[in-house]
Amino acid sequence: MKFTIPALATAVALTAMPAFSAELVLSIGSRGYGPAVDRNLARYEDMNPDVSIEWNKVSDVPGETRKLYVTSLTAKSPTPDIFAVDVIWAGEFAQRGWLEPLNGLLDEETIDAFNPSLLAASTVDDKVHALPLYADGIHFFYRSDLLEKYDLDVPKTWQDVVAASNTITEGEANPQFYGFVSMWAKIEGLFMNWLAFANGNGGGFYDADGAVAVNSQANIEATQFMVDLLHEERLAPDSILNARPDDARTLFQQGRAAFLMVQDFVHAPLSAENSPVAGKFDFTRVPYFEGHEDANSTTMGGWFLGINPNSENKQAAADFLADFTAKEQQLQAAVEDNRAPTIPSVYEDEAMSGNETLAKFGKNYDFGVVRPSAGSGSKYPRVSEIMQLEITNALHQQKTVEEALNDAQSQLETLLAD
């Protein structure tokens, strides 16, 4: 009898306990990393039965999801606990206090495993605020069959590209065939393209001392080349100034372009069975200008995962985060879904040796350049807007290249003054 009451009490207490010690909500899109999320959620819940994770699917289109995050983070909503952010948002959100610093929640070893230049994008005040999940970048796709037909080498410099393009278009003599297509609408992708050209000429957003110098001579030349590509050499269709990435991909897929400069997502649809150019294309690093062979001309993008500072389950969220971005998971995502890993040691694993495409992407990332989002923090959206607007002005020939870049420079100096 003496034990019955305590036993009963314990039994009651045990059954009254909540089923889960932590219920987490993860917000991430399903088009970008979906299969990996499916795999990892099930696995993690099996290993940690006291944690339940709800996958809140959001749009993969950054603009759509940003609307959602801005609204809920401003209102300090406790969910989602973990959410995916575009690389260019990481620094901005960190500065606004919208991403919980991870150094206290994760051990150093975990954090140090990641690619340092990617990690820099989410580091503010020496604290890391989000972990990179997967990366992508801009590559240069070409029609290998046409290069063969006209006995051309794979172009390395932009001058090579112009020459090759002219040969091919003259040879094909098809008014609906274009030499070069890309996504030059007034979008973020345009800034990324510009960075590729600028860096390819030894220029860039910052100068050697780290000061903003968008109107440097190297940049002016590179931008002028972009303008000439459109209006002098006429390599590209008029619609390039209206094109989003998928529009450019469609043209190339229809067999109507020799060269395509977009992110790696196009590889899958272009090589699909029903693609008219399957087996007829390949890709290389984005070209550079004469004399700048080691230019970092692969503009990078990617997605990070962070923790909501209003979350009520920060430690549980951090544990999940560490597991989700761990080396094993990234390796699997690389091998099965072709997602570029963000932990350098993954590339050395022997399981990766079979995946030639990813290895090739990875080699291009060695020449990677990131946008100045970490440096400008919460002002990055305005920085990007200024650049997009002025570059577009130059491309539409509303301003000369010098005018446009000088205007951009003065606006940027005013903006970033404090």
Partner: protein
């Protein structure tokens, strides 16, 4: 008794129908094409081959689309019922009961509807969060009702205004209360107005996007337009899936439109002329 040839009339009608239908026909044709067909150059006008693969894929890969359509239906129906009831009463009171400062109130109601909904997002979300109304049918229904009430009030008021006053006067003389007059006389007489307004509000609610996006974040509670916005990838825009999903999402609207068409056609013509 028209002796003029009806040729011109029919020609105009056919032209209007074709132009109105064109993009929708294009959407339906797209959903019936294979991927190669969709991106083919020169463009394929008719599907060759014709395929139902896209529809099958949607049902097998994204059965949640049906759930989203049901959610949209619930929200739109709730919003329409509330808007017509509240709006009908308010519209009647402000246009026919001779109340003081009715005009001022009407203008105020109109004025507050002039703010772009997108700018209301942050504060609405915050308020709903604290009230626990996020991810509830009631929450989104009330939000939509608020959005569309001004329109409803004005529309119905304008229909009420076309009714001749004598009938109501007569009923008042007979000692009928306001509510009875409204219910048994005014509503039946202005029925086409109610149907037209209700249809419009239903479609407004169905297609509404920004509020539905932020107020219903749980997967199970999403509405159709928000659900469809999940199909595009970060860069890719799969027309196969999206055109199919859109066709499926608008089927309920088409059905409802078809049903109520008969009403508007003039089953019960308003107007005291009868």
């Amino acid at each position: 008794m028209k002796t003029r040839p009806r040729f011109g009339l029919y020609a105009l009608v056919i032209l209007s129908v074709v132009i109105s239908f064109l993009p929708i026909i294009w959407l339906i044709l797209t959903s019936l094409k294979t991927t190669e067909g969709i991106y083919a150059w020169p463009p394929q006008y008719l599907p060759q081959p014709f395929t139902l693969k896209n529809y099958i894929n949607i049902f097998t890969n994204s059965p949640e689309l049906l759930l989203y359509v049901v959610n949209s239906f619930i929200v739109a129906l709730g919003c329409t019922v509330l808007a017509l009831s509240f709006g009908g009463m308010a519209g009647y009171a402000l246009s026919r009961l001779g109340m003081r400062r009715a005009g001022v109130l009407m203008v105020l109601i109109l004025a507050v509807s002039m703010f772009p909904p997108v700018s209301l997002l942050p504060s609405l979300f915050q308020n709903f969060l604290s009230l626990g109304l996020l991810n509830t049918y009631a929450g989104l229904i009330i939000a939509h009702t608020g959005l569309f009430l001004p329109f409803t009030v004005w529309m119905l008021a304008s229909y009420f205004a076309t009714l001749p006053a004598e009938i109501e006067e007569a009923a008042r003389m007979d000692g009928m209360g306001v509510f009875r007059i409204f219910w048994s006389i005014v509503i039946p007489l202005s029925w086409p107005g109610f149907v037209a307004t209700g249809l419009i509000v239903f479609i407004f609610s169905w297609n509404e996007f920004p509020l539905a996006l932020v107020l219903m974040t749980q997967n199970a509670m999403r509405t159709a337009p928000v659900g469809i916005s999940l199909y595009p990838g970060e860069y890719a825009f799969p027309w196969e899936t999206i055109s199919t999903a859109t066709v499926l999402a608008i089927v309920p609207i088409l059905v409802i439109t078809a049903i109520f068409q008969k009403q508007i056609v003039g089953g019960l013509t308003a107007g005291a002329g009868k």
